[in-house]
């Protein structure tokens, strides 16, 4: 099913619409308020974009440096070219350490890989521990937002779900629901043998991985089980601790409207001599899976992305249809660029067009990614690869030919303007437009007054 069809269903979903309304108020306003705390926000934003560009310009050398420093601290670094490679590597690590139960903190890369399915089919128990992801695991649904995965669900739906899956009395109070999840998950934290996390950043200077969380589950996943596997895209490398500090001034502000998240955890290697906690084995998997397709080309800026979600929070299309309509892991403007690149333009045909190009996303983006420009480039590519529907191509060709024949163009426009005027009702509106039903289904089309611009221009310059 394509975006257009899914979007229609989402627009008609009353519950989803009420859930999406909240996003505006909290995340959009939250970001604005928190950004206003920084007297030099434009400088910090420039610096953040420059930090990401510096890492991308010599990505291989920074990754190599990360690997050396991580290895020196006892971390095992793996490289995965594809999503299947990631799944295979995690399964091998699990087998090597006799793992039975895996706890996960939120990771979008593992969503790309469908890692949970891969582990479950290998006989492992997998438990998502981020509250939102846990709810989705119970509901067997994918996330609909990269920061607030369960934004599409109302409290009532969560109440029903917990009552059914936990075989417990139905609670309706949000703190009580959170307490219930905490008590269900605590035994898993204490009994799992492997923790799987993502990484918001990896730091070349120190060979560390960094995660930002609010719930504390990320800290548990990276502290309690005997094996920790951090899985992250190759583009997440940042040169130094100072650089990551600059990015951390922006990520929580743009993500959840917080000055700082509750926890920022920088982990470097496995448990050291004398430590009472921490994993005995620490693995990092660096994932390509399509990212190198963005390197070097005219879409490279997309790899600056720090996955804050601000572009979707500010997107009028996302605000109206939610994340599931985008069909794959990443929704919103960033998804409309990443999805076609990672899974192929031919598999995500209408996504580059799922935007109004209003520009709100690039205004909100903390690392200054020119998202509308990149969408436009993808649209051009679609056209070049012949992926546009034939009638659209034919219509544009015809228009192009006509536009190159100005006098004929003038005649045609005159006929059209008069024809449209004749179709208008008394208010000057057209109720239904032939070949333009998509427009007039839900609103009237204002009719031209009968003469073309050129006619009017000529008449007035004579006067």
């Amino acid at each position: 099913m394509h975006f257009k069809a899914r979007a229609g269903a989402k627009l008609a979903d009353v519950r989803l619409q009420s859930a999406l309304k909240k996003l505006q108020g909290n995340f959009v306003k939250g970001r604005a308020d928190r950004v206003a705390e920084l007297d030099n926000f434009p400088d910090i934003r420039d610096a953040a974009a420059a930090i990401r560009d510096r890492a991308l310009a010599n990505l291989d050398v920074w990754l190599d440096t990360f690997e050396q420093n991580a290895t020196a601290r006892g971390t095992v670094v793996h490289w995965a070219e594809t999503h299947d490679d990631v799944n295979r590597i995690v399964r091998e690590i699990a087998a090597q350490h006799g793992v039975r139960k895996v706890i996960k903190s939120k990771s979008m890369v593992t969503e790309e890989c469908a890692l949970n399915d891969a582990l479950e089919s290998a006989g492992l128990e997998v438990v998502e521990t981020d509250l939102g992801e846990y709810i989705l695991q119970l509901a067997k649904e994918p996330p609909s937002h990269i920061v607030a995965p369960v934004v599409h669900k109302t409290r009532d739906e969560v109440s029903d779900l917990f009552a059914e899956k936990h075989h417990a009395p139905r609670l309706t109070d949000i703190p009580a629901l959170c307490r219930e999840a905490r008590e269900k998950l605590r035994p898993h934290f204490l009994s799992a043998d492997m923790g799987v996390s993502g990484a918001n950043f990896i730091i070349a200077e120190t060979g560390s991985t960094l995660i930002v969380t609010n719930e504390g589950n990320g800290r548990m996943v990276t502290t309690l089980p005997k094996v920790h596997v951090a899985i992250t895209g190759i583009e997440k490398v940042v040169p130094t601790l100072e650089d990551v500090t600059t990015l951390l001034r922006l990520l929580p502000r743009h993500g959840t409207g917080q000055s700082i998240t509750n926890y920022i955890s920088v982990t470097t290697g496995p448990r050291r001599a004398g430590d009472l906690d921490g994993p005995e084995h620490f693995h990092v998997i660096l994932v390509d899976a399509g990212r190198t397709k963005l390197i070097g080309g005219d879409l490279q800026e997309m790899l600056r992305c720090i996955r804050c979600g601000a572009c979707m929070n500010h997107c009028p299309v996302y605000q109206s249809v939610g994340g599931h309509a985008y069909g794959w892991v990443y929704p919103g403007p960033m998804g409309a660029i990443l999805t076609p690149t990672y899974i192929g333009l031919e598999n995500a045909r209408d996504l580059p067009n799922a935007a109004t190009l209003c520009g709100q996303c690039s205004v909100a983006c903390p690392v200054k990614i020119p998202l509308p420009d990149l969408l436009r480039k993808l649209r051009e590519r679609q056209f070049e690869q012949g992926l546009k529907p034939w009638h659209e191509v034919a219509a544009l060709r015809a228009w192009g030919w006509l536009a190159r024949h100005p006098s004929l163009y003038g005649v045609m426009m005159r006929i059209q303007a008069r024809a449209l005027k004749a179709m208008a009702n008394r208010e000057g509106m057209i109720r239904s437009l032939p070949f333009g039903g998509g427009w007039t289904d839900r609103r009237d089309f204002p009719a031209p007054e009968g003469r073309t611009f050129r006619e009017l221009y000529k008449a007035r310059s004579k006067a």
Binding site: N214, I260, R271
Partner: protein, 215 residues
């Protein structure tokens, strides 16, 4: 070829660089790391202790003051009483020698367990800009003590309040040879807003974070 070699080669080819890394590229990276320049920092008022208090309180952290280390047990006992919490806790070894019993408290210096209700720790330093604690892991500073219990009490020396996270890293570089296994920045009790974006304190970590500012 290995996955590693393939990925690195794809990057270099796509960016029009020869497959073998040039010495100048490595040197530039090494130099940048050696310099680790700071980015632009927002203005933070000169009174960093006031800023720290203000920010920490706004994150739902609570606070009390103690003059000397010996005053810690009394302050802990007072807080637990006020909160109606049981007078038992697990602490980091540095506080093992305090006279807890005199305050009617049962405090053990050991690895924390899943059902311990109160954890008492120190902190590496505190960050004024955001009202944050910086914690470094080590044999005597296990991170789980600040994570598993429902209540986390942290002793923070006033002179260890620094302006920003950059200053935390500077302190760490000066005092230690390398990063510890885990550096955790803690900003208030754990929370979630996953259900209807309603902020709820106490997700998987502590419900309460209480600071004792030590003169």
């Amino acid at each position: 070829m290995s996955a590693r070699a393939n990925i690195l080669a794809r990057i270099r080819t796509a960016q029009g660089r020869a497959i073998t890394v040039r010495t100048e590229e490595r040197d530039a990276v090494a130099q940048y790391i050696a310099a680790h320049p700071q980015g632009p920092r927002p203005q933070v008022d000169a009174d960093i202790e006031a800023r720290f208090r203000d920010r920490a309180l706004s994150l739902a952290t609570t606070m009390d003051e103690v003059k000397t280390v010996a005053d810690i047990p009394a302050a802990v006992a007072r807080y637990l009483r006020e909160q109606n919490l049981a007078p038992a806790a697990v602490c980091w070894p540095e506080f093992a020698g305090l006279d807890w019993a005199a305050q009617g408290l049962k405090v053990e210096a050991r690895a924390v367990r899943g059902d311990d209700l109160v954890g008492i720790t120190g902190a590496f330093c505190a960050i004024a800009e955001t009202g944050t604690l910086m914690m470094c892991s080590g044999p005597d500073t296990p991170p789980a003590t600040s994570l598993l219990p429902e209540t986390h009490i942290a002793v923070v020396a006033r002179r260890r309040i620094v302006t920003g996270m950059e200053d935390g890293w500077t302190l760490l570089r000066r005092e230690r040879d390398a990063l510890p296994r885990a550096v955790n920045f803690i900003s208030g009790p754990s929370r979630t807003a996953d259900i209807e974006q309603t902020v709820t304190l106490g997700a998987h970590g502590p419900y309460r974070v209480h600071l004792l500012l030590l003169s």
